[in-house]
């Protein structure tokens, strides 16, 4: 049972194409979120909107370690995970517009993206509510003899809920292939981790269920990818669940309605200096893997990527009100 320790920045330069892919995926999320915020201000997106800005390295790095056969369980802060999983941006933007071409036919909105074809089992808006679901998905894989991993993302705030305790115990007790991925951005809405947990080291908590865990620098996409590959490999190997704690930070408020009065501006600024995208760009340039031309090309491709998303959302049809009761039960 490993003790928490921030993993040192991966020294090895990554393979070039792969590195640029990671960068572009993080970029996509950043721009997608900025556009979502802008569109929200314009009143085209309503309800709750939780941005992933600042945490891109976690979803992007972790998703690289998973195969198309693996399952994903996310939270209401699910845009980054959906994009990193390869869900078409138009289907996501359209979902936030409440259109019928949305990934949940406009019924779920920002907090509830789903994609059966990619085994994206959805964003769960009740904190900790997705953990038992992940345990069950993994139980089914184990009983069916399928060698697949169920990756369950959740925030550090969920750790205080009873379901975290029950789920880690059951997953370990039954040796289920669950990869628990804790996004520790230090706050649950306005409540700082040290004001909600008597023991703030989540790795120590995992150990009390005999679940091996590791604390990872969530601002280093390569570290996230490497740690997730190792953990996912162990889970795939049948040695039961693993937990990874990613130390990260949300650069924006909890949601669009959060005045963000509980964080010191300096703290936010300090973390912004560790912007996962800028950090990675600098390292890539240092390794000579990123040129201005490539940077420009990426910007352009991502810009087009976002334009397509908005265009599809704008052009999408509204679900017919007559279909209000459709999908409550199977036909």
């Amino acid at each position: 049972m490993s003790e928490p320790a921030v993993s040192a920045p991966s020294a090895q330069p990554p393979e070039r194409d792969h590195a640029l892919l990671l960068l572009e995926e993080m970029f996509r999320i950043r721009r997608f979120e900025e556009k979502a915020a802008e569109t929200y201000q314009a009143g085209k997106i309503r309800g709750f909107l939780h941005l992933y800005i600042g945490e891109e390295a976690v979803a992007v790095g972790a998703m690289q370690a998973l195969t198309g056969d693996d399952a994903i369980v996310a939270t209401y802060r699910d845009h980054g995970h959906a994009l990193a999983r390869g869900m078409p941006p138009g289907a996501l933007m359209a979902e936030m517009y409440g259109k019928a071409n949305g990934c949940s036919r406009g019924r779920g909105g920002s907090m509830h993206f789903f994609d059966a074809s990619r085994r994206f089992y959805g964003g769960y808006a009740i904190v900790s509510g997705g953990l038992p679901i992940a345990v069950g998905l993994a139980l089914a894989d184990k009983m069916r003899g399928l060698n697949r991993v169920t990756a369950c993302f959740f925030g550090e705030g969920a750790v205080a809920e009873g379901e975290f305790h029950e789920s880690l115990n059951l997953a370990e007790l039954w040796q289920l292939p669950v990869l628990f991925l804790c996004e520790n951005n230090l706050y649950a809405m306005g409540t700082a981790l040290e004001r909600s947990e008597s023991e703030t080291r989540i790795a120590v908590k995992a150990a009390s269920y005999r679940v091996p865990s590791e604390t990872v620098d969530g601002m280093d996409v390569l570290a996230v990818e490497a740690a997730t590959r190792a953990a996912a490999g162990a889970v795939r190997g049948g040695s039961g669940p693993r937990l990874l704690e990613f130390e990260t930070y949300r650069f924006r408020a909890h949601s669009m309605s959060d005045p963000d009065l509980y964080r010191a501006k300096e703290e936010i600024e300090r973390w912004k200096e560790r912007d996962p995208i800028t950090l990675f760009e600098e390292r890539l340039r240092g390794w000579g893997l990123l040129t201005d031309d490539e940077q420009a090309a990426i910007d352009e491709r991502v810009g087009a990527f976002i334009d397509v998303a908005v265009a599809e959302a704008e052009a999408g049809p509204w679900e017919a009100v007559e279909d209000l009761e459709r999908y409550v039960m199977s036909e």
Binding site: F114, P132, L137, L139, N169, Y327, V328
Partner: protein
Amino acid sequence: MQRMTYREAVRSALREALAADPSVFLMGEDVGRYGGAFAVSHGLLAEFGEERVRDTPLSESTFVGAGIGAALNGMRPIVEVMTVNFSLLAMDQVLNNAATLRYMSGGQFNIPLVVRMATGGGRQLAAQHSHSLEGWYAHIPGIRVLAPATVADARGMLLAALREPDPVFIFEHATLYPMEDEIDERAGACDIRCAAVRREGTDVTLVASGGSLPKAMTAAETLADEGVQAEVIDLRTLRPLDMETVVASVVKTHRAVIVDEAWRTGSLAGEVSAQIMERAFNALDWPVQRVCGAEVPTPYAKHMEDAALPRAETVVETVREMVR
């Protein structure tokens, strides 16, 4: 035909399902080694092994949620929540996940999950162990709620539930487990869409379900001796409600009494009463009456608990008032 108890009927359905479909498995507290708190699953662990008959830790919210997850991923879980009293700990998974995932995903997923639990009072178990919360479950869109009241239904409804693509919650009234009857042990799934007329009558309609059905039947017999022919309807499925059968009867009898063990205020009996008025107002000769549980946490002492639960005599007295 074979004589068996309600308990054995549930067990026979479980055994049959486990034997027939490798994706079916039973999970819950003490369903294995202990043999089930009500001995329903007695012997199944030995027969099907630990993979198929799983004892869970005391973690209601998580094993119910795990049932949802397993159902989402190709399995056919049967989750036993020992009693409805403990299901409160899993209420979030029921209402926010089991009942919503299909809809929220725009129909991409469905949850073929069966959850069984014992319900009701009458055994002197006091306030924390005597709840009748079927009415709460019947309020939830996205799930089906069944209340088998006969030995045949105890078996047939479970087999039918296992064919549904969506979550089905089955409430087994704890006082019914020892009840015996002759049933066709080879009969498969039965209908779970319709209520059943358990006794025909012309003067008044008694609507009941689960543990209240025997009380309604007893009341009907007493009334028959007094020359009052009561028609007794067993709701069977609490969500969706089969009001057609109920309304058809009331249109004939012009009077209705609903028997429901739950606390009166906010009970399913109130819903049935309101729907009868909405659909058969002009046929009513008398306001629909309700015989429900007293609005108290269920007391332990026998004479107090008896006073708190619906009784056949109360039903009889209520009907006498109506047909005078």
